[in-house]
């Protein structure tokens, strides 16, 4: 219930004039009943001032009470005018005063209980939201980290990179192909030389055959001469026989050499032809590989660029996640200042109770007068806690605002 409503209740209690509060049917509007039935039992010693029923001011009549001079409303602020002290709670006051204190205390206890319950609930829920936020951000950061590690491997950052492996293997193949090509070239040359040598061998074999023929003729002549000489020609016979035998062996060997040379002359050109074919194939493969390698290099470079772009985007997203988390944390901070603001209500109620009981007691004794705006000023004063905190604010220095950071 707002302060004005509470004050209005008290005005109606006071405002029954000469009639006891108990014998009226419409003395208190139902919505302002704080404690049903209790107000009707208020004893008829209330001041008989004629009050304005719509307002809640009390004007002290001359001769009533102690006859103290009326005091202005704003003079009721603390530390400015000595307000008569309300009787301490331990001393029995008037039944109305006790009723007021008891009602206020119960009201205050209820309000405080509810405030503490709300604060506990909101704290619990805020902490739960914070834990969920932490779990979400943690999972997101872990996922981004795992993706980054995977992409780093693929992008070739380090020798284990797939792109680098592809490039290295391509270079290895190209190197080996060059080696094969050089070997085939050398083989072709050696084959050509072997072909030339084979032709030389065949030519030499023909000369050897001619020599063998001459030798055979010579041995025949020796035989003829040996026959003409008769017994004296026996030595010639032997020599002629040996020569004939040697000539036969030379002929046989020459024929074999000739056959081998002929075989070489047939196979070497084929070897040469195959070598040339292999060389041509190797050249074609090397050319194709070179063309494909440039495509591979281009593709791996593009892959690297794409992966690095994805990595950069991942880092950016991770930054956004973190920023979003920071914003959420900033919003979750409503709970603490809200809880403290709610607790100020309890302090406000305590001060209100003090003020009301003081005013009631003062009004009863007639030592002070109030005007219409007493509670308005009280409410206005209570809304500025700094004024009641007793703090001294440095002149010329502005207090910091929420969220401000000052490093010394």
């Amino acid at each position: 219930m707002p302060l004005r409503g509470v004050a209005r209740v008290f005005s109606r209690w006071f405002g029954r004039g000469s009639r006891p509060a108990s014998d009226t049917e419409d003395s208190v509007p139902p919505e302002t009943d704080l404690r049903s039935g209790v107000m009707r039992s208020v004893p008829p010693f209330l001041p008989t001032n004629d009050l304005d029923g719509s307002a809640f001011g009390v004007e002290a009549t001359p001769g009533f009470g102690m006859g103290a001079a009326p005091v202005g409303l704003d003079a009721l602020a603390e530390n400015e005018v000595p307000v008569p002290e309300a009787p301490p709670p331990s001393e029995p006051g008037t039944p109305l005063l006790e009723l007021v204190r008891e009602t206020f205390t119960q009201c205050r206890n209820n309000v405080l209980s509810r405030i503490q319950s709300v604060n506990a609930m909101t704290a619990r829920e805020v902490i739960a939201v914070g834990d969920s936020l932490q779990a979400i951000v943690g999972r997101a950061q872990a996922q981004v980290g795992a993706t980054r590690d995977t992409l780093k491997g693929l992008s070739g950052q380090g020798r284990a990179g797939v792109a680098e492996i592809i490039e290295r293997q391509t270079q290895m193949v190209t190197t080996h192909l060059s080696t094969i090509h050089a070997a085939l070239e050398q083989q072709t040359e050696l084959t050509r030389q072997a072909l030339v040598a084979s032709s030389g061998i065949a030519a030499i074999g023909e000369q050897v055959s001619k020599v063998a023929l001459q030798t055979r003729l010579l041995s025949l002549n020796a035989n003829v001469e040996a026959a003409r000489l008769g017994a004296n020609g026996a030595g010639f016979e032997v020599i002629a026989s040996q020569m004939r035998r040697l000539t036969d062996e030379i002929d046989q060997a020459n024929r074999q050499i000739g056959q081998m040379a002929q075989a070489l002359l047939v196979s070497l050109p084929q070897i040469q032809k195959h070598g040339e074919r292999l060389n041509r194939s190797a050249e074609a493969f090397s050319k194709d590989l070179a063309e494909n390698s440039s495509q591979v290099y281009g593709a791996t470079a593009h892959l690297k660029t794409s992966l690095e772009s994805v990595l950069a985007r991942g880092d950016h997203e991770a930054g956004l996640i973190l920023q979003g988390s920071y914003e959420a944390i900033s919003h979750l901070q409503f709970q603490d200042p809200t809880a403290q603001s709610l607790l100020i209500i309890d302090a406000d109620l305590a001060r209100l109770m003090e003020r009301v009981t003081t005013l009631l007691e003062a009004s009863r004794t007639g030592s002070v007068s109030v005007t219409n705006h007493s509670f308005e000023n009280l409410e206005a004063a209570e809304s500025h806690p700094e004024l009641h905190a007793g703090e001294v604010v440095s002149l010329g220095s502005e207090p910091l605002a929420t969220g401000d950071v000052m490093l010394f």
Binding site: A123, V126, I127, G130, D131, L133, Q134, V137, Q141, L322, Q323, S325, Y326, E327, I329, S330, L332, Q333, F334, Q335, D336, P337, A339, Q340, E391, V392, V393, S394, S397, E398, P399, L400, A401, T402, G403, D404, V405, M406, L407, F408
Partner: protein, 123 residues
Amino acid sequence: MSPKVLIVDDSATVRQQVRLALTQAGFDVIEANDGLEGLDKINSASDIKAVICDVNMPRMNGLEMLERCHTQGGPRMPVLMLTTEGKPALIQKAKEYGAKGWIVKPFKADLLVAAVKQLTRAA
């Protein structure tokens, strides 16, 4: 090893929110409920790199804790006050007792993290 920061505040939600902001930024966070517990942790743990401290707390408030550190030769690590208060007189008092900064609640998490990083780097 992550640098360790001590948060001293009687509000569980504030401690959690500071912990969330700093752990996501790579810090390790320990907590204390009030100035007495905070003072105990400052004196017993040698690896605390920074302290974030509320002002209004039961048993011992933040300025009293800071003053106690000051009489013991000053806090070994930078102390950042985190509070709803913003009065220049309180700020001046904290500065005289050796505090290195003052943040008014509710705080912006990214600014808190930046301030802690700057103070721990300077230390």
